[in-house]
């Protein structure tokens, strides 16, 4: 009788794969259970609450240091976006009014006459 020595590395890989499958399956059931989802909802609410509280403290600290708050920076960013949008619209309007001046020469790109091969390409 021939005795094949055990391949521990292969055994380890196989065990790892099986463990992963089992954990994904069992863990998945747990993670979608009502108890877990309730806990998750609670954690999200707590994070939101902490964020709100921290924001209040930061806003006061920034105001005391005579620095802009996040909300003020966001407002400036939104105004810049509106200015950017207006510039974009003006550029488009100018291009419409003076097409000859802004018309780009046809790009020297590839031709567009390709036909599909008789047999599917791989």
């Amino acid at each position: 009788m021939s005795s094949t020595p055990p391949d521990y590395a292969a055994f380890f890989r196989s065990m790892l794969g099986e463990w992963e499958k089992a954990t994904n399956s069992m863990g998945g059931q747990t993670l979608k259970s009502e108890e877990f989802v309730r806990m998750l909802g609670g954690a999200t609410a707590a994070t939101s609450h902490a964020q709100e509280a921290f924001r209040g403290v930061m806003e006061r600290a920034l105001a005391a240091a005579n620095m802009p708050s996040r909300a003020e920076i966001e407002d400036i960013s939104a105004r810049l976006a509106r200015i950017e949008g207006a510039l974009f619209r003006m550029e488009a309007k100018l291009a419409e009014l003076a097409p000859a001046a802004t018309e780009k020469p046809a790009p020297a790109g590839p031709t567009r006459n390709r036909k599909p091969p008789e047999t599917p390409e791989g």
Binding site: G41, E52, P116, P120
Partner: protein, 356 residues
């Protein structure tokens, strides 16, 4: 006939050498930089807030008449379509004669928290299509949407697609959100206060979404390190691991109002399936999509299970429509070694005969 039993001494020696290589490679792994992803030559045509539109430089002299626009999911980076040379869908499409554009997303800025589903479907997507038309001089465009990029493409196609839309392809695109069981459970309206989350954070944080994606397979994260260590001697495995790990952890935040809308309208009320979804005050009816249509689902998709996308093909109005379910998961369907053999040739053939 029995094969001779392997010499235990040789087997131990092979295992020892592998362990030695693994340790040397482990040091290399720690010392080497991450691979450069998404490096195919391209021009940025639009950079407007969260919106990015790229045109990839053609690699052949003669391309198909109809240009191709890839639409990325809003949660992830578009370089999944352009990992590294030899493993890039973009490169594959370019080499097979397509003029390729991509609508990709940057993290929405804090002031973009008010972007809505309407912003994506009735502004970003049609703007991208119009720019592709302008760049190529062609009246019609093929659109290929991945995951939620597929949902956006469907909504746009149903509302405004008839005309500029030549072909529509969606990958792993859900329409029955009640079948995304894990996300359904976590978004349970009794416990998940989406209003509070959005009102507090503005945009839905990327970390929050990353954790949700990670929890879909709670065992996988735990074995990842062990599997990497075991395979450190294999350069191809390590390269692939680094690419996919980087992409999977590069999750984008979602614009707040858009996240609120999609949670309520799709996850809670499943309106796309019910046919009651309205975007910009207009009812979305997928039967209005009449362009040739292909949907590709992944057999082992843990993010969008096949049941979540199964009703899609029946909802589309096109006479020329097809659904295929390929082996693979949500990501391996579109990128990696198996995608090169399965999805990419299918896509190139299906589009090729419809792109002249």
């Amino acid at each position: 006939m029995n094969a001779p039993a392997p010499d235990p001494f040789l087997a131990a020696q092979a295992e020892f050498e592998r362990a030695l290589r693994r340790n040397i490679k482990g040091l290399e792994y720690l010392a080497s930089p991450a691979p450069v992803l998404g490096a195919s030559a391209k021009d940025v045509l639009v950079e407007r807030g969260t919106m990015r539109l790229y045109r990839y430089r053609p690699r052949v002299d003669d391309v198909y008449r109809v240009p191709l626009l890839l639409v990325m999911a809003t949660t992830n980076r578009g370089y999944i379509f352009d990992m590294v040379p030899g493993q890039s869908l973009v490169e594959y499409l370019l080499d097979h004669g397509f003029d390729v554009f991509m609508l990709d997303w940057a993290p929405p800025r804090a002031d973009e928290r008010r972007l809505t589903l309407e912003s994506y479907v009735l502004d970003f997507l049609p703007s991208a299509v119009a720019r592709v038309q302008e760049e190529t001089g062609e009246p019609d465009v093929s659109v290929v949407g991945y995951c939620f990029g597929g949902v956006l493409s469907l909504l746009w196609a149903a509302l405004e697609g008839n005309g500029p839309l030549a072909n529509l392809v969606t990958f792993t695109t859900p329409v029955d959100f009640s079948r995304m069981e894990m996300f359904q459970a976590w978004a349970d309206r009794r416990f998940f206060d989406v209003d509070r989350l959005v009102d507090t954070f503005g945009n839905c944080p990327g970390d929050y979404l990353y954790t949700a994606f990670d929890m879909l397979r709670p065992g996988t994260r735990a074995v990842t390190g062990a599997r990497l260590y075991d395979q450190l001697h294999d350069d191809e495995f390590v390269k692939s691991f680094r690419m996919f790990d980087r992409w999977a952890s590069d999750i984008l935040p979602l614009a707040g109002e858009y996240f609120r809308q999609t949670t309520k309208l799709l996850m809670w009320e499943n309106r796309l399936l019910a046919g009651t979804l309205e975007v910009g005050g207009r009812r979305v009816d997928l039967r209005r999509i009449t362009a040739p249509f292909l949907h590709v689902a992944a057999q082992h998709d843990h993010i969008v299970p096949t049941e979540a996308s199964a009703p899609l093909i029946g909802m589309i109005g096109s006479a020329d429509k097809e659904e295929v379910v390929l082996k693979g998961g949500h990501v391996s369907l579109v990128a990696g070694g198996n995608a090169v053999k399965r999805l990419w040739p299918k896509l190139v053939h299906w589009l090729g005969v419809r792109s002249t």
